[in-house]
């Protein structure tokens, strides 16, 4: 049965900035675009062919919009993050759920919206806000809470270029339909 004090504690995260601004290690650049296009086998010429990109609606090379997150991923050797309570709050809400036994995680939704295409040289930063934490729910995977976070991406001038809503389910392993309740 859901613990109302615990749920109130989770609710308190809603609307809080829980991460960032985190600055991309590198600006948008052609080599990373090329690696991505090779891996995805995306042959759209506006991503990799300068002459065609120049004659296109974009006027020059652009990055695949769906590559958005790649620019600000922390990578294999994450640089140290500035100490701030805000930067740690995202982990706090997840740690709170972990401590309560909701240790498994699965991503359920991802919504990306693009205000404009990005060109090589654009240097992104991203902030993360906790959008919502659901009440306890019985799902097919188990008993859990949906945590929805919103990431907002800015260029070097502080203009918003894209946003992403990302929803995960934190659940108790072994409490789903497959486990027989």
């Amino acid at each position: 049965m859901a613990d109302t004090a615990f749920e109130a504690e989770l609710k308190a995260f809603e609307g809080r900035t829980v991460g960032g601004p985190q600055v991309a290690r590198d600006p948008v650049n052609q080599p990373m675009i090329r690696h991505w296009c090779d891996a995805i086998d995306d042959q759209n010429p506006v991503y990799t062919e300068p002459e065609l990109a120049q004659q296109s609606i974009h006027g020059s090379i652009v990055a695949p919009p769906t590559m958005l997150q790649a620019w600000t991923m922390r990578g294999l050797r994450p640089p140290p993050q500035p100490e701030s309570s805000e930067a740690n709050a995202s982990e706090d809400v997840l740690a709170l759920l972990d401590d309560a036994g909701f240790t498994s995680v699965v991503a359920t939704n991802c919504v990306q919206e693009y205000r404009r295409y990005l060109h090589p040289g654009d240097h992104l930063s991203v902030t993360t806000t906790c959008d919502s934490v659901s009440p306890e729910k019985q799902t097919a995977l188990g008993i859990g809470h949906f945590v929805t976070q919103r990431q907002t991406y800015f260029d070097a001038d502080g203009e918003e270029v894209a946003s992403m809503l990302f929803r995960i389910l934190k659940f108790k392993p072994g409490t789903g339909a497959a486990a027989g309740g």
């Binding site: 891996a39 995306d42 759209n44 769906t66 590559m67 991923m73 991503a107």
Partner: protein, 140 residues
């Protein structure tokens, strides 16, 4: 891919996109994870993925987004503008499986076409969602 950009006026609700079938090789899953700078072990290390309860390594979400985007622009053409990719995630894309992406034009309004997308593997739907893409009035 289609090197000519599709015209908004030439698209009808109900149009089907050409299917995209992807054999999910370890090379595909790993190269895409690394290209998206996602180094979580479940996307490249089979032993650790199995130890964590997975059948095999599996595709990361950034890659799913990438293939959905490519699936749309392969059909729509190079000057189509992706506006919104809204996906729901389902069965994992494990190495060794095959995913087939299918799409249908669900709506069109004010130069923006909405395509409903589903990507299925042998376990069921891996991804379902909607993509909004802006097209020029006439093909170019």
């Amino acid at each position: 891919m289609n090197r000519e950009t599709r015209g908004y006026d030439n698209v009808e609700v109900g149009d089907c996109l050409p299917e995209l079938t992807l054999p999910l090789t370890p090379t595909l899953i790993i190269s895409c994870a690394i290209a998206s700078r996602d180094y979580q072990d479940v996307h490249h290390d089979r032993d650790l993925a199995v130890a964590r309860g997975s059948k095999d390594i599996f595709m990361n979400i950034l890659t799913t987004n990438g293939f959905v985007g490519r699936f749309i622009t392969d059909w729509a053409g190079p000057e189509a503008l992706l506006r919104k990719v809204d996906i729901k995630l389902g069965a994992p894309n494990y190495a060794g499986d095959t995913m087939t992406l299918r799409g249908t034009v669900a709506d069109k309004a004010d130069g923006v076409v909405t395509v409903e997308v589903i990507g299925q593997n042998e376990l069921g739907p891996h991804v379902t969602g909607k993509v909004e893409v802006t097209l020029p009035a006439a093909a170019k």
